[in-house]
Amino acid sequence: MKLKSYLKLFKISNIDFSKKIGISNVSLSRYITGERLPEKSILNKIFKLTEGLVDANDFFLSNSPSHDLSEIHKEEIKKMIFNIREGKLKDLAKAITLVESSLKLHNAQADLLLSKLKHNKKSLRIGITGVPGVGKSTFIETFGMSLIDLGYKVAVLAIDPSSKRTGGSILGDKTRMMKLSVNKNAFIRPSPSQGNLGGVAKRTSESIRCLEEAGFNIIFVETMGVGQAETTVYDMVDIFLVLLLPSGGDELQGIKKGIIEMADVIIINKADGNLKNTAEITMSEYKNAQNMISNIRVDISPEVFLCSSTESTGIKKIWNFIKKFEKVRRDSGSFYKTRVQQQTKAIWRNISLQSQDHIEYKLKSKDSIKKIIKDVEKNNFDVNNASRIIFDSIFKSNS
C-alpha cells in the first residue's frame, strides 16, 4: 500500500515516522508525494517497519486505476446511499447489482458504498435451507407475511443455482411468494449463484448490509440444501433454519448430515393432510437424534417444529422460539460476538477468494508461468521448485 495510506491507517504522524527511519520530515513528505524516490537502504527500513505493507513497488509503480474512483462515480454512490436510506427500492436494487458485479469499477464502487454503511445491530438475519421441493419459498411467504403483520420489514435473498454448462439461470422464487413479493414492506432478490460458492458468500453478506441500511430488519437468506453453500451462509446469519420433509432420515431427505448438525431450528414442513402422522414420527426421530448432536451454540439448544405453510400452522411457535433464541443470545452477548467472529472469517474468506481469482485469471495466463509449467510437464523442472517460484511471484506483483 501507499505510504500515505499506511500512516493514515495506523495513525502515525509524519514526524514520528521520519524519526524512526532517521530522515527529515521534509524528505519523508517528498517520498510521500512522489517528488523523490527513496534510496535502497531507506526502502529496506520502510519495508521492515511496515511489515512489508509498504514496499518498493509502492514508490515505483503507480496504483492500478481501478482503486481510484472518479468524482462522478463517487457522487453516484453518495446519491445511492442517500436514496437507500430514503427507502428507494430502485437504488437498493442497484446497490446489490454493484455488489454482485464482476466489473472492477463496480467492485470499487461497492467497496466505497459498504465503507459508508452503518453496522446494524438490531436486525435479525435468518438462514433457511432445505432440498428442492421442501417448500422453502412457501414457508418464507407465510412466515414473512406474518412478520409484516407484526410490523417488520422483511427482505429475502434467494440464491439460485446457475447452470454450469450455459451459465444461465431461471429465478422463479417470486412465483411462490406471491403475497410477499407485492407487499411494500418486503423486498425479494433472487440471485444466480454463478457457480462460485465463495463468491456467493461475499456478495450475499454485502447485500445483507445494503438491505439493513434500507431499514429491513428481518433478512432471510434462502439456499438449496444440496451443496456446500449452506456452510458459508451459516457464517453470515444469526440463526439457521433447516426445512425437512415429513419422511425418513437424512439419507431419504437427500440432505447432508453436516447441514442438520448446524441447524438452530429444524422444521418438518408440509405437516398437513395425510402427511400429518408421518410428520410427527419424523419430528420425534429428530428430537431424539438432536440430543446426540454436539451443540454449536452454548447458550441455547436447537429445537424441532412441525409446520404447514399452506395451513399456516406452526409459524407462531417457530417465531416464538426464534425470539427466545435471539433474546437469550443477545442477553449473553454471544449474538453480537458471533457477528464479530463472522467478520473475521469474512476477511480470510475474501482473501482466499481473491487469491483464487488471482491464480485463475492472472497467474495462469502469464507466459513465464506457462513456461515453468511446461518445463515441469517435460520433467525439466521439479514440482517443489516450480511451486515456490510461482508462489513468490504473487508477492512481487502488486497489480
Binding site: S101, S102, G168, T175, R176
Partner: protein, 706 residues
C-alpha cells in the same frame, strides 16, 4: 412364403433407388418417439394389438355411432370470442343462418377467473378473448331470440363453472326452456387447468368436488346435457405431443369417473354424458390414429368400472384445429393448414368440429376470416364425398399400425400416472406438466434449427409483408358498459335475497350441498358471478400456482448452426462490459393463464445463458414493475396472448416511469396484431416479437438492444 419373397424384392429395388443410403435412414422417428417405416404391408396388420371392430359397437374404434356421417355429418360448431353479449348474440344468429348447427361460447378472462367486470384486478381482461358474463342479465342478452330447447350450446368454462352454468340454466328457464330440455356441453375439465391452462380458481380438492357436483346434478336433472368435456386440446396447444395429449386426457377421464363414483353415482348414470375434446395438428395420420386409439382405449378403461350399458363405453368427441400451428408470417397459409387439420378430424370420426380462422395467430377472427373457417367445413362435408363412407381409413396398413403404436405408448404414460396414485397426485407432483414442457421446448428447438419445417416461418419465407385486416376490440368501452350494467343490477335487485343466497352458498360449500343447485336459484335472484365465486372462495380459498420450470431441454435438442456461437460470443462481450449476464424478467400480466409461451421463453433463454426471472401468473403491471426493479432486470419480456397488451403495457410503462426505472427496457411477444406495433413502439417498447419468432435470433437482438 410368397409374401416374404416379394417384400425382399421390394427391399432390393428400394435399396437400389437409394444408391448408397440405407433404408434405415428413411425411418422417421416422430416427436412421440414412434418409429415410422417408409412402407407398411399386410404383415404389419397382423401385428396390431388393438381391436378394429365395427362402428357403433364396442370397442368403438371405428366410431361411436353405427351410421356416422352417412346419416348426419358432424356438427359444425364455431367458437366465438366476441366481447359483449349483444355482439356474440349477433354472431350466433348470423352463423345459424349460414350452416352452423351448434353454439359455442367463449368467455372473457375475468369471467373465467370468477371476477365481476368491476374488480380491480381485471382492468385489462374484461371482454378479452370472449364475452363478459357478470350475471343472468348478460346470459339473457347472449341467448336472446335463440331457442335453447333446439340449439345445443357448448360453453368453455372451467374455473367459474358453477356460477356460469347456473346462470345459463336460470336464463334458459326464464326464457321458458326447462332445464331437462337444455342440450350442449360444459367444459368443466379442471384437471387440465392445473396442468396447462391455469384458468382455475380454487385448489384441486374443492375443484374436483365441484366437478362431481355438476356431474351429479346434470345426470339427474339434465339428461341431454354433457356434464364435462375432457380436453386434450389445451395440452397439445401447450406443447404436448399426441401421445401425451391422449394419455393424460384419458387419465383425467378416469379420475373424473372415480370422483363421480365416490359421490355415489352409478357408472351408467353419467358415463354416456362424458365427452372429449381433441386438438388436431399437422401430423395428419398421427391425428387420425390418435382419435381411433382414443376410442378403443376409453372403452377399455370404462369397462374396468363394470358398466351395464354399452353407451357408457363409447367416446364422443369435439375437435378443434390446432391454434398453435397457426403462424403470423404469411398468414394466409393458415387456411391451408386448417383445411388439412379439419380433414384429419373428419377422417378420425369427430362428432363436432371448430375450424380456426387464419388470423387467429394475430387477433380475434373477423367476419371474413370466420366465414372462410366455416366454409372450410362445409366444403369438406358437401363437396368431397368423404361423408359417404364410414371410417374410410380402417384397415390401412399404416393407420392401423400407427393406431396400435399410439395405444402402446399412451398406455405407458397412463401406467405411470396410475403408479403414483392417479391424476390428482400426478398433478401435485408435477409429472404431466413437466413432460409437456419438455416436449414443448424440444419442438421449439427443432423449429429454431430448421429440423421441422414451417412454411413461411423457417423456410420459403415471404419477401413482402402482406396486410391483413384484423378485428380490434376496445376493451375499455366494454368494461364501462359491463360496469354500468352491474350497477343497474345491484340497484334494482332485492339485496336481502342476495345476502341470504350468499350465506346458503357458503353453507353448501362447507357441507355437502350441491353447489350448482343452489347457485341456479342464486342466479335467478340476481347474484353475480363474482359474488357467487367469492362466497365459495371464502370457504375453499383461491389457488396459487407454484411455477416449476425445466432446464437444459432446449439446449440439448437444438442443433448448433453457428447462431449459438454468436450468442456465446455476444454474451461474453456483454459480461465483460456490464459485469453480469443479461437479466430478463418474463411476465404474464392480467388473467390470461396460458403460460406456454412465457415458460418456453424462460427455459430457452436461460439455456442460452441469460439470467431469467419469472413473474407469478396473473400479475398486475405495478407488481411486474416492482419485481423488475427489485431484481434489477435489464429487460422485461411481456408475454401476451389475449389482447391485454393494449391496456397492460401502457400501465407497465407508466409504473416504471413513476418509480424512476425507465432504464429497464420492455419487449413484447405473443399474439399481437401488427397494427398495434406502432402503438407499442410509441409507448417506448423496444421490440415486438410475433408468433413463430426464432428464439436464437431474438436472443441476439435482445443482447444488442441492451
Amino acid at each position: 412364403m410368397d409374401r416374404k419373397k416379394s417384400y425382399k424384392g421390394w427391399e432390393e429395388k428400394a435399396s437400389k433407388e437409394l444408391h448408397d443410403k440405407s433404408l434405415e435412414d428413411h425411418f422417421w422417428e416422430t416427436p412421440e418417439g414412434i418409429k415410422v417405416k417408409p412402407l407398411y404391408t399386410e404383415e404389419d396388420l397382423e401385428k396390431i394389438n388393438h381391436e378394429i371392430g365395427l362402428p357403433g359397437l364396442p370397442p368403438y374404434t371405428r366410431g361411436p355411432r353405427a351410421t356416422m356421417y352417412t346419416n348426419r355429418p358432424w356438427t359444425i360448431r364455431q367458437y366465438a370470442g366476441f366481447s359483449t353479449a349483444e355482439e356474440s348474440n349477433k354472431f350466433y344468429k348470423e352463423g345459424l343462418k349460414n350452416g352452423v348447427m351448434g353454439l359455442s361460447v367463449a368467455f372473457d378472462l375475468a369471467t373465467h377467473r370468477g371476477y365481476d367486470s368491476d374488480h380491480p384486478r381485471v382492468l385489462a381482461d374484461v371482454g378479452n378473448a370472449g364475452v363478459a358474463i357478470d350475471s343472468i342479465e348478460d346470459m339473457n342478452l347472449l341467448f336472446d331470440g335463440i331457442p335453447l330447447d333446439q340449439m345445443s350450446v357448448s360453453m368453455t368454462m372451467n374455473g367459474a363453472v358453477i356460477p356460469v352454468l347456473a346462470s345459463f340454466i336460470a336464463s334458459g328457464e326464464e326464457q321458458g326452456c326447462p332445464r331437462e330440455k337444455l342440450t350442449g356441453t360444459i367444459q368443466n375439465d379442471i384437471l387440465k387447468e392445473f396442468m396447462v391452462r391455469n384458468t382455475f380458481i380454487f385448489p384441486p380438492k374443492p375443484s374436483m368436488r365441484i366437478v362431481a357436483d355438476i356431474i351429479e346434478y346434470t345426470s339427474k336433472k339434465m339428461p341431454r346435457f354433457n356434464s364435462i368435456s375432457i380436453s386434450g386440446y389445451h395440452m397439445q396447444e401447450a406443447g404436448a405431443n399426441q401421445v401425451q395429449e391422449l394419455a393424460y386426457t384419458l387419465a383425467d377421464g378416469k379420475e373424473y369417473i372415480k370422483s363421480a363414483l365416490e359421490r355415489g353415482l352409478n357408472i351408467d348414470e353419467f358415463a354416456p354424458r362424458l365427452s372429449f375434446f381433441w386438438s388436431i395438428g399437422m401430423n395428419f395420420f398421427m391425428e387420425i390414429a390418435k382419435m381411433r386409439a382414443a376410442r378403443y382405449m376409453w372403452s377399455k378403461i370404462v369397462k374396468e368400472f363394470k358398466p351395464k350399458n354399452d353407451r357408457s363405453l363409447a367416446l364422443r368427441t369435439h375437435c378443434q384445429t390446432s391454434g398453435v400451428s397457426l403462424v403470423e408470417q404469411d398468414a394466409y397459409n393458415n387456411i391451408v393448414r386448417t383445411t388439412i387439420e379439419a380433414m384429419a378430424a373428419v377422417m378420425g370420426g369427430t362428432q363436432s368440429l371448430h375450424t380456426n380462422s387464419f388470423d387467429e395467430a394475430l387477433a380475434l377472427p373477423t367476419k371474413f376470416s370466420a366465414r372462410i373457417a366455416r366454409n372450410t367445413q362445409l366444403i369438406i362435408s358437401e363437396e368431397t364425398g368423404i361423408c359417404n363412407v364410414i371410417d374410410p381409413l380402417a384397415g390401412s396398413y399404416y393407420v392401423e399400425s400407427l393406431t396400435s403404436s399410439i395405444v402402446e405408448e399412451s398406455q405407458k404414460l397412463i401406467n405411470e400416472i396410475d403408479e403414483v396414485g392417479g391424476m390428482v397426485k400426478a398433478i401435485e407432483i408435477g409429472i404431466p406438466k413437466m413432460r409437456i414442457e419438455e416436449s414443448s421446448a424440444k419442438r421449439q428447438a427443432r423449429v429454431d434449427s430448421n429440423e421441422e419445417t414451417i412454411v413461411g416461418v423457417n423456410k420459403y419465407k415471404p419477401t413482402e409483408k402482406q396486410e391483413i385486416n384484423i378485428l380490434s376490440i376496445d376493451n375499455e368501452e366494454v368494461r364501462k358498459r359491463q360496469i354500468s350494467r352491474l350497477h343497474e343490477l345491484k340497484k334494482t335487485r332485492n339485496s336481502k335475497n342476495v345476502e341470504s343466497f350468499i350465506e346458503k352458498i357458503k353453507n353448501a360449500a362447507s357441507s355437502n350441498g350441491n353447489l350448482l343447485e343452489i347457485c341456479i336459484e342464486a342466479s335467478k335472484n340476481r347474484c353475480t358471478v363474482g359474488e357467487m365465486t367469492l362466497a365459495m372462495e371464502s370457504v375453499f380459498g383461491r389457488h396459487n400456482l407454484s411455477t416449476k420450470t425445466i432446464s437444459g431441454v432446449y439446449k440439448n435438442t437444438v442443433k448448433n448452426d453457428g447462431k449459438i456461437d454468436i450468442i456465446d460470443n455476444e454474451l461474453s462481450k456483454f459480461l465483460n462490459k456490464k459485469g453480469r449476464r443479461p437479466r430478463m424478467l418474463v411476465v404474464k400480466m392480467g388473467q390470461d393463464g396460458h403460460d406456454r409461451g412465457a415458460k418456453l421463453i424462460a427455459t430457452a433463454f436461460s439455456d442460452l445463458g441469460f439470467d431469467v426471472d419469472i413473474g407469478p401468473l396473473f400479475q398486475t403491471p405495478e407488481e411486474a414493475a416492482k419485481q423488475a426493479i427489485e431484481n434489477d432486470a435489464h429487460v422485461i419480456g411481456v408475454s401476451t396472448l389475449a389482447a391485454g397488451h393494449k391496456t397492460l403495457v401502457p400501465l407497465l410503462m407508466e409504473s416504471l416511469k413513476n418509480n424512476e426505472a425507465s432504464y429497464i427496457k420492455v419487449i413484447c411477444g405473443g399474439v399481437i396484431p401488427p397494427d398495434d406495433y406502432p402503438f407499442l413502439y410509441d409507448l417506448g417498447v423496444s421490440k415486438v416479437f410475433g408468433p413463430g419468432t426464432n428464439i436464437q435470433e431474438a436472443a441476439i437482438e435482445i443482447i444488442n438492444l441492451l
